[in-house]
């Protein structure tokens, strides 16, 4: 079976590659499809080791540095793990500030993904120029609209991240979360300044991003016409990247008026995003005790199948059969997908609807609605879920900002003391999915710290039962077409002349771009990796997060150190 790898995968966070075995599929007119996929995380930093023995409060600032793309969620999960251990709850004003911080942050994050990370592939495959990078500069934007929204997005995301900076001090890596609340005081000035910034974000999302979302939905029909002609089967974005159909979500945005509902992760019915699992049997309550991490195919030689609060790991770089630095988390031994799509499923089921009323003028742009296309998830459904999260967060940011006016002058932090011995956990949703931090404190210091992050869930290698992770399953779902056509050739099939325009734009940057997304198999043959890349990016992988390890209490690890020290 021919094989090739895509390594490095760019436009994701962290270092990642995938290895793909491909074969000609008789049912698809003998075109190549992916048979087997293996995802490899190729970096290890060992965050949990360097957290050991530190002041527990420092975890909020250090764990943010796990990932510069999603620092906020790490801070949120960490501060809640500490609050759980310290037996302290944030006051209502602090909950509102946290929600505002996170809503503004998610608009930044999802906009970046929408346009800069997955946008180029979607733009190319759907012949939608505004989402392709502005390869011809200002002229290309003016004459062809090439990269028009891509460029605009860079500007708009800055307004969102400035709102984050207003409440967090700076972005990336905010500084204002503290166990028991926040350090930043709500002032009219900050509220007004945030509203001004978020209006431009809201307008861009409600008009431009939602229009691009509809454009992709429409263009998907063109794509299906091409696959029907080439493969004999209509394969659209809703068929690409189908995974397990098991979805897991921890919940997001607690109700500041009812924090008790939030404190039990099995409940979380009043939060904007609800916790739970969704599978073929429908919705079920979330049960934290069902989480286990497996390491048979990971570079660790510690026991497999432990709960994160009891986890134990030691790195072994040359482990036989292992191929990734990520572990394999499973829920009740099953493979679960996490992310925006999981959030939609546990909160809205299969029919989604979000209002679109201008926050300052009151003008109604009409609701956005969507019905899940593929119960196992797909590129299209994940993209749609991000579009909905964008609209939802943009709306909610205003609600909370206005609400916060009633809390000015109220306490923003409740006092606490660091216990000598305690355990705690914080469960939150990063943009990419379920994020959990578990802490054990002994002698007032961190004895054990463990993070199970979205990148570990979605890009886990095979588990002890041999079941591939959600991303691997999505790649080997059966319809991952590997054309032998080049990107411009494929683009010309989708819309006559589009490929030529694209080729001109790309090769103007550098002639080498004529080979965009082309990889060589071991046979050797030149194949087009656009569709697997699209599938990988539909999960928005975040691999820096995915790789971590813990230190079992009191044990030393013998690890070969390099020449340093």
């Amino acid at each position: 079976m021919p094989k090739f790898s895509i390594d490095p995968i760019t436009r994701i966070e962290g270092h990642m590659g995938v290895e793909l075995d491909i074969a000609r599929e008789p049912a698809l007119r003998n075109e190549y499809v992916v048979r087997e996929a293996r995802s490899k995380a190729t970096m290890f930093r060992g965050f949990e080791l360097l957290l050991k023995d530190r002041d527990p409060r420092d975890a909020v600032l250090i764990t943010q540095r796990i990932c510069g793309v999603c620092p906020n969620p790490h801070a949120m999960a960490s501060v809640q793990a500490l609050e759980d251990a310290f037996h302290v709850e944030p006051p209502a004003a602090a909950i509102l500030v946290r929600n505002i911080l996170e809503a503004a942050y998610i608009t930044y994050d999802h906009l970046i993904h929408f346009y800069l990370l997955i946008g180029p592939e979607l733009g190319i495959l759907c012949a939608h120029p505004p989402m392709v990078p502005p390869a011809l500069g200002i002229d290309g934007i003016k004459t062809l609209g090439l990269g028009a929204h891509y460029a605009k997005c860079i500007e708009v995301q800055r307004a969102a991240s400035r709102t984050v900076a207003l409440w967090g001090g700076k972005f990336p890596h905010i500084q204002s979360l503290y166990p028991g609340g926040v350090t930043v005081r709500p002032t009219l000035d900050k509220i007004a300044s945030s509203v001004a910034r978020m209006v431009s974000v809201w307008e861009f999302i409600a008009t431009t991003a939602m229009a691009d979302f509809q454009a992709i939905l429409a263009a998907n029909e063109r794509l299906k016409a091409v696959t029907e002609a080439t493969l004999g089967v209509r394969v659209g974005l809703e068929n690409m990247g189908a995974s397990t159909g098991n979805f897991l979500c921890y919940g997001l945005f607690p109700d500041h008026a009812d924090y008790q509902d939030w404190l039990d992760p099995a409940k979380r019915r009043k939060s904007v995003i609800r916790s739970g699992t969704w599978s073929a049997d429908g919705l079920a309550a979330f049960d934290e005790s069902k989480i286990r991490e497996y390491v048979r195919y990971s570079f660790y030689d510690s026991p497999s199948g432990l709960h994160p609060s009891e986890g134990e790991t030691s790195p072994k770089r040359d482990k036989e059969g292992a191929y990734s630095w990520t572990k394999a988390p499973r829920y009740g031994e099953e493979v679960f997908e996490v992310g925006p799509l999981a959030r939609m499923m546990t909160t809205f089921g299969t029919n989604w609807r979000v209002e679109r009323v201008h926050p300052t003028t009151g003008e109604d742009y009409g609701p956005v609605e969507y019905v899940l296309r593929n119960p196992r998830g797909s590129v299209l459904d994940r993209f749609a879920a991000r579009a909905f999260m964008l609209m939802l967060c943009a709306n909610k940011a205003f609600e909370w900002l206005l609400e916060l006016r009633d809390y000015m002058g109220e306490p923003i932090v409740n006092s606490m003391t660091i216990p000598n011995e305690a355990k705690g956990r914080g469960l939150w949703e990063a943009p990419r999915g379920a994020l959990g931090h578990w802490i054990t404190i002994k002698g007032g210091r961190i004895a054990r710290y463990q993070c199970v992050v979205p990148g570990t869930w979605n890009w886990s290698p095979r588990d002890d039962l041999g079941n591939p992770g959600p991303g691997e399953q999505a790649l080997q779902c059966g319809t991952t077409w590997i054309p032998t056509l080049t990107v411009p050739q494929l683009a010309n099939l989708i819309q006559a002349g589009w490929g030529d325009t694209l080729a001109r734009a790309l090769t103007a940057l550098n002639p080498a771009y004529a080979r965009l997304n082309m990889e060589t198999t071991d046979t050797p043959e030149s194949v087009n990796s656009s569709i697997p890349l699209l599938i990988v990016r539909s999960f928005d992988p975040c691999l820096a997060c995915g790789v971590h390890m813990i230190m079992p209490d009191g044990k030393r690890h013998s690890i070969e150190l390099d020449d340093h020290h």
Partner: protein, 400 residues
């Protein structure tokens, strides 16, 4: 006001980057536009979190879009600063992405900039495209005309090299030296790196200005000032002895601020211009959000003096030989008597002059040098920092 090129970074230091960029935006764009050739950029990620790349995307005036689209070489339509390879935003993946490293290597001479994000971990802990990051770094550094370590990890190892790390992570300069490569590395530490500093350093390289570096390899324009001494807007509270005692709790009700020293602020041992420059288009910075500075621009971060983050520095820096709290008590009395802060400043100045008269000649020379180099004395009416304060700070620096 037109820009004196040789004074470029010095002027930046004088105004602070934000004001400088506001004043000189057109000059800056002209600098980029006048260059007749592309500046080939290779942005290499090691043990990183991509936060520095995200931070760079927050650059303004010129922003990332301008850099990539409108600042072009002649009428070629190609961007002046062309990232041949930048993992986080690169159009290509896989083999082609790596081919672009060769495009960078064959770029025209004296136009090759290597920007490294992330620490250099031990062999086997970081791979890119099936190759060791360390090998990629060595090859690139040998080819590069300029090497910029962007962010604390690339500069000094940062968080991945923190106490307890098992990966042997270190900064770029240290690693290259251990491999016999003595090329100058321009360190732009902070966690994440500040986009303004990167844009301005690129501009200064393009006009051929030699960047003046301090003993930690940092451009003095951005790192030549102490947070606590010269730039902190909460310094008046320190001088009056008004402190926030616990994060999120304010000493005199919601209308009053307070110095962050007691909640662990590392400003007194941190040399960087955050308080002046601020972040995300001058919106805020850590201390303004009610949090302590954690000293992320210093080589010892996140250990040494910086950890634990919320722990008060050992030994309060002295104001004219007395703890600030004492001055605070004096001041409370003074304010109550309606004398106000200015009279106290006059008292301080008088005391300082009296001290200076007693100083041995050698320290006077030193102080002159500081005054000449420092910018604060020129823009502010305040007296230069006292020698005693300087000593206190220096002492702490050497401890780390």
């Amino acid at each position: 006001m037109s820009l004196a090129r040789r004074e470029f970074l010095k002027t930046v230091g004088l105004f602070g980057a934000f004001t400088f960029i506001k004043l000189h935006k057109l000059d800056l764009i002209e600098i980029f536009a006048q260059n007749a050739d592309y500046w080939h950029i290779y942005w290499l990620n090691g043990s990183a979190c991509s936060g520095c790349a995200v931070s760079f995307a927050q650059a303004t005036d010129p922003d990332l879009v301008q850099l990539l689209t409108s600042l072009t070489v002649g009428d070629s339509g190609l961007p002046i600063a062309l990232p041949d390879y930048m993992q986080v935003i690169h159009p290509a993946s896989g083999r082609l992405a790596l081919d672009f490293v060769d495009v960078w290597k064959t770029g025209s001479s004296t136009k090759k900039v290597l920007i490294v994000e992330g620490a250099v971990a031990g062999e086997g802990f970081c791979e890119v495209g099936g190759r060791s990051f360390r090998d990629l770094l060595i090859e690139a550094a040998q080819q590069a005309d300029y090497v910029i370590a962007f962010g604390s990890c690339a500069s000094y190892g940062g968080i991945p090299a923190a106490k307890g790390s098992v990966t042997g992570a270190m900064g770029v300069a240290e690693f290259l030296r251990s491999r016999g490569i003595t090329k100058t590395v321009i360190n732009l530490p902070r966690c994440p790196g500040h986009p303004d500093s990167l844009v301005l350093v690129l501009a200064s390289l393009m006009i051929g200005e030699v960047t003046e570096l301090d003993r930690h390899g940092r451009p003095t324009a951005f790192y030549g000032m102490n947070m606590h001494e010269t730039r902190c807007p909460y310094r008046p509270y320190y001088d009056r002895g008004i402190f926030i005692q616990r994060p999120g709790e304010f000493p005199n009700g919601p209308a009053e601020e307070g110095c962050r020293y007691k909640i662990g602020c590392k400003g007194p041992v941190t040399n960087v211009d955050c308080a002046l420059r601020k972040w995300n288009g001058h919106v805020s910075y850590c201390v303004e959000a009610g949090a302590p500075c954690i000293g992320c621009s210093e080589p010892e971060f996140p250990d040494g003096n910086m950890a634990p983050f919320y722990q008060e520095l050992p030994g309060l820096p002295l104001v004219l030989g007395a703890p600030a709290e004492t001055w605070g008590l004096v001041l409370v009395g003074a304010t109550a008597a309606g004398i106000g802060a200015h009279s106290v400043k006059r008292v301080l100045t008088r005391m300082k002059k009296a001290k200076a008269a007693k100083k041995p000649p050698s320290s006077e020379v030193e102080e002159e040098a500081v005054t000449e180099e420092g910018t604060e004395a020129k823009v502010a009416e305040e007296p230069p920092p006292s020698e005693i304060e300087e000593e206190a700070v220096t002492e702490k620096e050497t401890e780390g």
